[in-house]
Amino acid sequence: MDYEVIGMTVLWTFLFGYVIVASIDFGAGFFNAYSLWTGQHQVLSNVIQRYLSPVWEVTNVFLIFFFVGMIGFFPSTAYYYGSALLIPLSISIILLAIRGSYYAFETYGSKGHRGYAFLYGATGLVLPASLSVVFTISEGGFIQLTERGPVLDYWTLFTSPLSWSIVVLAVAAVLYISAVFLTWYADRGGHSQATALFRRYALIWALPTIVTAMGIVYELRNHNPDHFASLLNLWWMFAISLLFFVASVWLIWQKKYYGTAFLLLVGQFAFAFYAYGISKYPYLLYPYLTVYDGATNEAMAIALIVAFVAGLCLLVPSLYLLLRFFVLDDQYVAGKK
């Protein structure tokens, strides 16, 4: 296998990891704020905080990993995306800062500030929207090469149905993923009220997620026919994804096997995410940049891959330990520790 492909696979996998863990984090923040609003805060906040506080930093590192790895394996992306995305990504930085500081300030904050909690919840919806712009832009048609370098065409971006459907999908998916995970998490801890509430949220957001996902495929047909064609070649992956979706919704509906339901959900998103990624190959940015002209030199690629394997040997056991303490430990989840 080419090292370009190895690099892309690794990065795509970590991005997928970020999509899942960050969705849980973003959505939980939103539900937290929403429950303040509806007066159900007592029911939810404890469950949410138990999970979120210890792991948010790790979630953040997934993003850094993707970003730094991208520049390492494909330095030209720094030039194209770095030049064009100054504003959207700066907004994302500020939103990320609001989230991060919420954890910092509320850990020992006495009562918790309501306005702050709402702000924090709102970032949970705006961040996926602002980060998802990168996906939209990668489809091509939004960046122009000028003598000042690559420039983003904001007007086209804001008037494109594709970009709005991606935003809607990002938000719906965040809420759906988060609700399913928290249903399971609350159930393990024996918080029956919270479980019931999260289950309802999960069922509410299931349909919008799948509908907008299909909407995007439709939009792509107009926007980027090449990409659409290669998506169709991978129809079977989307079919599997759909099956997983139906199965996990069914389990949640039946109020059983929430853990399996969550795993099925991960499978659902994995198949869709990788199918999307594979269909895009070899483009990093339509039509300017492919993985081949954007890639780093061989010496660096090998060094990065070696570092990655060594890093994984360190990372996987540590991540397992983290899960053992905060997710797989029933006593902790139940709030007894």
């Binding site: 930093e57 730094v68 330095p75 100054l86 700066s90 990320l96 910092a104 780093t296």
Partner: protein
């Protein structure tokens, strides 16, 4: 200026974000070690005051780390947003340590999460202490890796440019460039030193405010001694850093010293004012000191700034920054030595109020030296972003909006810093020492075993 010139605006935004990050990153590197030391002493001496120190410091540490992560995320993204051409080029050669840094972050973040939320989940406190070791290693390694990147910007190695094309890349050579050894060692030892003095300053402040408890005296003493050790290390390594500069970046050393003509037996000038003819007035001159700093020999020849073309001259105000750093460094060594010696000799002056006031000042002073040192070395690299290869001008984004963003980020950091101050004060009020002591007291089977 800020709104018209994207290059200048990018420089100022980098300056802003990095300076803020430096505050939190320094403490993020240093505090885990201090907590480990206290925790370990507590177990070893069977003294719950030290254990309490570890616990109380850890509370503040959580808040500081979180802001360190936030500002670090900002700077990591900004590097590509503000300097796209630089990152594209540097990505080919120096991406390895950047990538490894991320693993160090993972490592730190994971074990920090576990450490902080498992205070009561271990019967044996020593196991809990073990969790902090990966945190300290992760933080120190991330400082090491990022400093190698900065070293590369100062002394680019590990590649060749033939006909505008980069070839023969060696990531390892780039990472272990000539600047790496002194730079990394200096950065890490200053982080330890600064954290120690900051904690000592806090304890001294409490004592000045009338607190009587022996807890504060123990904390003060411990941190002053640790501070002394790392202050000596810092000065020694700083001396090596000067020798590195003399060999590999003579223009930076010359600008920092206002040393214009190449000569033997060069004096070191402190402060002063420069006139138009490159004469220093009102400066404090130490004969031969520059030759010693640069080459360890009083008669050695030191290259002057006039050997270099005018457009390569770094800004000359870095002289003041350099002086500030060195003076603070020397002061902290002497001062903490006097404290240590005085405590051994039971001198009463070292426990007097005015001496305690000086201890309170040493925390902020150390932090100031960190800032001065970074500004000196970063401005001293001008006009290059990659010395000899790419200028700042060539590297910057062309986007016209950077100036506006500067103010958004300024507001963000202001809020963050104010928030940190408020929250740290709140923590202190919510967990007064007396209450912690009462709470922690009683039977503690794990202290003895």
């Amino acid at each position: 200026m800020l709104f018209e010139d994207p290059v200048f605006a990018s420089r100022m935004l980098s300056l802003l974000t990095l300076s803020i990050h430096a505050i939190f990153a320094t403490l993020g590197v240093g505090l885990p070690l201090m907590i480990i030391i206290a925790h370990w002493l507590g177990i070893k001496k069977n003294d719950e005051h030290y254990l309490l120190m570890a616990r109380r410091w850890a509370r503040g540490f959580v808040v500081l780390v979180a802001v360190g992560v936030v500002t670090g995320t900002a700077i990591a993204l900004q590097l590509a947003l503000l300097w796209p051409n630089f990152m594209e080029m540097a990505g080919h050669v120096i991406a390895l340590p950047l990538f490894m840094e991320v693993f160090a972050f993972f490592f730190e973040a994971i074990f920090l999460g576990i450490y902080l939320y498992t205070w009561n989940r271990f019967d044996d406190q020593r196991k809990h202490l073990l969790l902090l070791i990966p945190v300290a290693i992760g933080a120190t390694m991330s400082a090491f890796f990022i400093t190698t990147v900065n070293g590369f910007m100062n002394a680019p190695t590990g590649f060749q440019i033939i006909g505008g094309q980069m070839t023969g890349v060696s990531p390892i050579e780039a990472m272990f460039n000539p600047a790496t050894p002194t730079k990394a060692a200096h950065v890490i030892s200053t982080a330890f030193m600064t954290s120690a003095f900051v904690l000592a300053a806090l304890a001294a402040y409490r004592l000045l405010k009338g607190a009587q408890h022996v807890y504060y005296k123990k904390a003060l003493h411990l941190m002053m001694v640790v501070g002394l050790i790392f202050a000596i290390a810092t000065a020694v390594i700083g001396d090596f850093a000067g020798k590195y500069l003399a060999k590999h970046q003579p223009e930076k050393l010359a600008a920092a010293e206002w040393h214009f003509e190449t000569m033997e037996g060069a004096p070191l000038v402190l402060f002063g004012i420069l006139d138009d003819e490159q004469n220093v007035r009102f400066g404090l001159e130490i004969p031969y000191a520059l030759s010693i700093l640069a080459h360890n020999h009083p008669q050695a020849e030191v290259i002057g700034l006039n050997e270099f073309p005018q457009e390569w001259h770094p800004p000359l105000f870095i002289h003041y920054l350099f002086d500030l750093m060195v003076i603070i460094g020397v002061w902290l060594v002497l001062f903490s030595f006097v404290y240590w010696w005085g405590m051994r000799r039971k001198w009463t002056i070292v426990t007097s109020r005015w001496f305690r006031r000086l201890i309170v000042a040493s925390g902020p002073l150390a932090m100031l030296a960190i800032q001065a040192g970074w500004w000196m070395t970063e401005f001293g690299r001008q006009p290059w972003i990659l010395r000899g290869v790419m200028t700042v001008e060539e590297a910057a984004t062309q986007s016209p909006y950077v100036g506006h963003l500067f103010f958004f980020f300024l507001a963000l950091y202001l809020i963050l810093v104010i928030g940190v101050v408020v929250v740290l004060r709140n923590i202190n009020q919510r967990f007064p020492l007396e209450q912690d002591l009462a709470h922690e007291g009683g039977e503690r089977p794990w202290i003895t075993k």
